[in-house]
């Protein structure tokens, strides 16, 4: 079951580092088995950062919740 709490728990593991760099990763919505997040800060405009965080966070979400669908960046 994909819930806001479980997604937040995963995001909370990377968030301190992103915040320390002056950015943030915010959960916008959980829709069914998928979630949408927004990346802000210095890394937000960087394509390679998007790829890194997107793939890494999605993988971690799926590790916690095998039924997890897709992570969308907005």
């Amino acid at each position: 079951m994909v819930t806001t709490e479980r997604v937040e728990a995963v995001l909370a593991r990377v968030r301190p580092f992103i915040q320390a760099d002056g950015g943030n990763i915010e959960l916008i919505a959980v829709e069914g088995n998928s979630a949408a997040v927004r990346l802000t800060g210095r890394c937000a405009g960087c394509a390679s950062a998007h790829m890194t965080l997107y793939l890494g966070v999605e993988m971690a979400l799926r590790e916690q919740m095998p039924e997890f669908g897709t992570l969308r960046l907005r």
Binding site: V10, R13, V14, F17, I18, D21, R42, C46, V57, A60
Partner: protein, 366 residues
């Protein structure tokens, strides 16, 4: 006297107590010809260390041959190490020297010795005892002059206790034992290692070296690094390849480093505190690495005492700049006793070069 070491292809970075003990060991064994057994997890730098030992030895102008004993199937190890004659087996179309012969006069690094099957261990033992080899399919006995350094991921003594490693071969190899600490046990070296590798990979690309954000440093300090220095090096190479932002930010760090999944973040040790300046002399007396054994594994008190003795003698010789009478005073033993102990520990050659500071292959952080 010893000529300056030729430029090392690689260096060992670190100023932690654990690494200072390793450098101290390297310095003390100096030009010894004895067999060294290097134990350390994957990625802790066994081969780099073996290269440094070779370069510090009198064999440094002779070949250094490294061979992983895990790469080959059991039957191939023999042909790889000892070579074969033409026609020894299908496909043996010409004579081929083995690694022992290729390393003649130099140093042979037998890595992954813990992966050598028991049946092969007997043959290896015989070669190490007789210092002669026979090629597969050959009848000629070839004498070989090689200095052996063995590398092991696992604690061989434990493997002996479990019946997986021959006791006689273990004692043949365990003459000068060296344990390399995993990176998580020397976290205070992480910043220096980061700077070293980041600089290396940006320079290799021909780019300026960018500053590293504090968040990235924190992430590196907190990660467990199961793959040790090799993993950290790869993480730095990845950053150098991906990041062109001017400052290395968190977005360029592999997510696995940020998202370590094994429970709560480990406590940071004194890593955040500034590193001590030059350690006082006595502190640099080498403390032998504590046995990295599982709790109920047997340890040999005699071996440990010998290690301790060797490192304290090394310390005394260093402090006394190789003056044995002074060293004996420091240790509160007779000069003649010290001579006997030095010989017993195989430190004979190290003693004469104990003050050759430039031979310590280290890059300290600044």
């Amino acid at each position: 006297m010893i000529a300056p070491t030729p430029p090392a292809p690689d260096v060992v970075v670190g100023r932690s107590a654990r690494m200072r003990a390793v450098f101290e060991f390297l310095r003390v064994i100096g030009t010894s010809e004895s067999t060294v057994l290097i134990t350390g997890e994957s990625g802790t730098g066994k081969e780099v260390t073996a290269t440094l030992i070779h370069q510090g030895s009198r064999r440094r102008h002779r070949p250094f041959v490294a061979v992983s004993c895990a790469l080959f199937s059991e039957s191939l190890i023999e042909s790889e190490l000892f070579g074969h004659e033409r026609g020894a087996f299908t496909g043996a179309i010409k004579d081929r020297p083995g690694r022992f012969e290729m390393a003649d006069g130099g140093t042979l690094f037998l890595d992954d010795i813990d992966d050598v099957p028991l049946s092969m261990q007997v043959k290896l033992l015989r070669v190490l005892q007789n210092r002669t080899i026979e090629r597969l399919g050959g009848t000629r006995t070839v004498p070989v002059n090689v200095r052996i350094i063995a590398g092991s991921k696992k604690n061989l003594q434990q493997m002996v206790a479990d019946g997986k490693f021959r006791e006689d071969l273990f004692y043949r190899l365990n003459v000068l034992p060296l344990t390399l600490p995993p990176l998580r046990e020397r976290r205070e070296d992480i910043p220096a290692l980061m700077d070293y590798f980041i600089e290396r990979y940006y320079r290799r690309k021909g780019d300026d070296v960018p500053p590293i954000s504090e968040a990235v440093r924190q992430a590196f300090l907190r990660y467990r690094w199961p793959g040790n220095v090799r993993e950290l090096e790869n993480a730095c190479e990845r950053i150098a390849q991906m990041c062109s932002c001017g400052t290395v930010g968190i977005g360029c760090v592999a997510a696995s480093v940020l998202l370590q999944s094994d429970g709560p973040l480990p406590e940071l040790p004194a890593a955040a505190a500034p590193p001590p300046a030059e350690p006082p002399v006595f502190e640099s007396a080498p403390t032998p690495a504590p046995p990295s054994l599982s709790q109920d594994a047997p340890i040999s008190l005699d071996d440990r005492m010998r290690e301790l003795e060797a490192s304290l003698i090394g310390w005394a010789l260093k402090v006394s700049h190789g003056n044995k009478s002074r060293a004996a005073e420091l240790l509160q033993i007779k000069r003649s006793t010290l001579g006997d102990r030095i010989n017993r520990c195989g430190l004979g050659h190290a003693a004469s070069s104990a003050h050759d500071e430039h031979r310590v292959p280290t890059v300290a952080s600044t």
